[in-house]
């Protein structure tokens, strides 16, 4: 073991990637067996470096201080006589540190391999891509036969439902018209009660009412005439239609 304080001054803390790096430097410099680290000496040397850094007024990263604390803790555990209650776990206080150092050494080794490989593969050169038309694309149809069948079934079902629905609608229209016809008969009869001659075009004018209503009105007029409650006149073809109330001879049925 050499005294570290002498050469520490020429090494800047920046040269070490971290506390593990510094520890490794010390281990290699002292040709130490990593599995049997003389913790007292290593700790002393490590601390020497930190003190040297402090003297040089360099900022010491917190990680280095944490490692210092860890080393001191291990050192104290190694120096203290083993207590009986602790003996059972029979653990080397250095174990965790050793494992971490081994892990770190692997990383360092692999980092070295990477550096070498990079230098080797730097000799390989690539070509810049040619300009290619960018917007070109191929459309691939993504279809499903089962979906085709499903859609077909659904379409037919909808068609079937619609057909049913339309006949239903027709019934409703007829029903609606029946009510309406009755209503129109009632309207006409009410007007006829006033004992006047009605002008069909005045009551049911296509300009004011719908074709359906005009037709229904006409049907109502025919119905009334049929029942003998009114007389319908039309003097000329396509001429005005007049509806007159028909007097009921009361004593006729008497």
């Amino acid at each position: 073991m050499t005294n570290a304080t002498h050469d520490c001054c020429v090494i800047k803390i920046k040269d070490f990637e971290g506390p593990f790096d510094l520890l490794f430097y010390l281990i290699e410099k002292n040709k130490i067996d990593i599995y049997d680290i003389p913790i007292v000496e290593i700790t002393d040397q490590y601390m020497d470096y930190l003190f040297a850094m402090k003297e040089m007024d360099l900022e010491i990263a917190s990680e280095f201080l944490v490692m210092a604390a860890t080393l001191l803790h291990i050192k104290s555990r190694m120096l203290l006589p083993e207590r009986k209650d602790e003996a059972e776990d029979d653990e080397d206080p250095r174990e965790e540190l050793i494992l971490k150092l081994i892990e770190y050494k692997r990383v360092k080794d692999f980092a070295g391999i990477l550096r070498e490989r990079e230098a080797e593969w730097k000799k390989v050169h690539y070509k810049l891509p040619e300009l290619l038309p960018e917007s070109a694309y191929e459309i691939e149809l993504d279809v499903s036969p089962s979906l085709l069948k499903e859609c077909y079934q659904k379409t037919l079902q909808v068609y079937y439902d619609r057909q049913n629905d339309e006949s239903q609608k027709m019934k409703r229209i007829i029903q609606h018209e029946r009510v309406s016809l009755r209503l129109k008969i009632k309207q006409l009869l009410d007007m006829l009660k006033r004992d006047v001659r009605l002008c069909f075009s005045a009551i049911f004018n296509l300009k004011k009412t719908s074709r359906l209503e005009v037709a229904t009105g006409f049907l109502a007029a025919l119905e009334i005439a049929k029942n003998g409650k009114a007389i319908i006149h039309q003097e000329v073809e396509f001429g005005e239609i007049y509806i007159e109330p028909r007097r009921v001879v009361r004593d006729e049925g008497a």
Partner: protein, 196 residues
Amino acid sequence: MKALSPEDERKLYMYDLREIENILEAVLFAAGDSVSIEKLSEIINQDKKTTISIISNMEMKYKNSSRGIMLRRIGTGYQLCTKPEYDKYIIQLGYARKKQGLSQAAYETLAIIAYHQPVTRAYVEHIRGVNSDNVILNLVEKNLVCELGRQDSPGKPKLYGTTEEFLRVFGFNSVKDLPHIDVNDIQTVMDEIPVD
């Protein structure tokens, strides 16, 4: 040191020539762009005349041998480029395969045409209950549906059917392969559909 026999000299030259050709290939590849004869002769440490003869020889070799790339003289320089006959493959590098599905309307229309072909547009619209003009046009554009002729009825409406592309895309061997519809009440409906 023993002098080389003419045979050995020739062999050595052959070896050197090969190596020079490799160097030129590597250099031109890395450059991507054209490289002047001056630069090339400087790199292979030969005079301009020798360089030109070496590279002209390479030009012929690329041309006549089975290769995907070739050498082109551009002005006073040379450049590696792909042979024009492989252009159609290179273009595909830029292709992005877009997967596209069909709309509900397209499926419906396609199904009616597939199951009832040949059919008119009016027939499709009768079953779907909506205007199907654009949908059919779209299916024709996608080459899933095509015109099969005209119906011998007033107005001579166009008749539509499915294409080979339709069979390919859906994976049917023939139109007879269409999945069978086994719903009985739908079958009844089909009987009721008036043929126009």
